[in-house]
Symmetry: C2
Subunit: 169 residues, 2 copies
DNA sequence: ATTTTCTTTCAATATTTATTGAAAGTTTAA
DNA sequence: TTAAACTTTCAATAAATATTGAAAGAAAAT
């Protein structure tokens, strides 16, 4: 396989994965494109490579910047904006984990905390069952939350070394 | 807050989370409903509770059964099917992780393995950069894969105890 | 064997989500 | 200050995804 073909497949695969995880295809593909590119890309470059409209390119670039995965780069003597993607895969993973934790996990933890207050003194089996469920989900979510916090501070090789050793000992 | 209200919020929250993670809302809500229910539910019960059609209820129940999160229950002397959801939150988490690993992570690993074969002897910087990227992503995905494998075999409290200790030591 | 009760399927439809493209906005250069 | 080069916005449109409901299929009861 040659490089061009390889890049295409990489971009495709990343787009498909994104879709399955609630991230829009174009956003994932732009991100993939920036990962495989050694050089900064302009909006035009992206539009052409992915055959998408200016508006689409612009909006998804903005989202990627919001996610902290892409930066604007100012090129000396050039008027148009260029964009550069974060290339460090571990940083990318941590960043995504952090954003999703904040946007999705933390709000759920809040809801669960509220649900702990449902009929706290009831002796009904139905209510007890509900409390056990809420508590179990809360504990799990909380542990995941703490895991992500840990990941966020960790250096990659150290982290995987420690994690995977747990299972072999 | 009373139990009814609490259940509703739980079902809502679960549906919202599902949506964000590429799982359809109804599937997530049916699953939530079965978690909060102490009793088995019929298709009718589900249709009524969530105000959805028979076809919708049936299809999503089938999906949930495919995912291994719901079981059919035959009630003595009753003709209609009843359904029971897995209540153990840790089992649910493991099951979801296992299914998604197989369906989504493993195919990506395969693609990445293919991409390792791109122009293997080239000395171009462009190609070298591509190989580094593919390798980095592969390593990460592979480590996640092994982590999930480990989780799958682990007992909950043991697992979290080990994991969270990593970060405090 | 026929009817009743319940389940499954799937084409039609509705809803949600993503994309376009042209107009408005902004910045730099002439 | 005007024009040119570029970016952003957003209503209209397209595409993807989920849902309905009625018809066909199965299984049990009469």
């Amino acid at each position: 396989m040659n490089l061009e073909e390889g890049k295409k497949q990489f971009v495709q695969a990343w787009g498909a994965i994104g879709t399955q995880w609630g991230i829009n295809k174009t956003m994932a593909q732009i991100h993939a494109l920036m990962m495989v590119s050694t050089q900064e890309l302009s909006t035009e470059d992206i539009m052409e490579e992915l055959s998408i409209s200016r508006g689409n390119a612009n909006m998804n670039l903005r989202d990627l910047i919001d996610w902290g995965l892409v930066q604007k780069v100012f090129k000396h003597g050039e008027r148009r904006d260029y964009f550069q993607g974060e290339k460090d895969v571990w940083k990318i993973a941590k960043q995504v984990a952090k954003i999703r934790k904040t946007r999705e996990l933390d709000p759920v933890l809040k809801v669960l905390e509220e649900l702990k207050k449902v009929e706290p003194n009831s002796k009904s089996e139905e209510v007890k069952h509900f409390h056990k469920l809420v508590n179990d989900v809360y504990k799990l979510a909380n542990n995941v939350d703490r895991l992500i916090e840990g990941v966020f501070k960790a250096e990659e090789s150290w982290f995987w070394d420690k994690i995977l050793k747990i299972f072999t000992k």
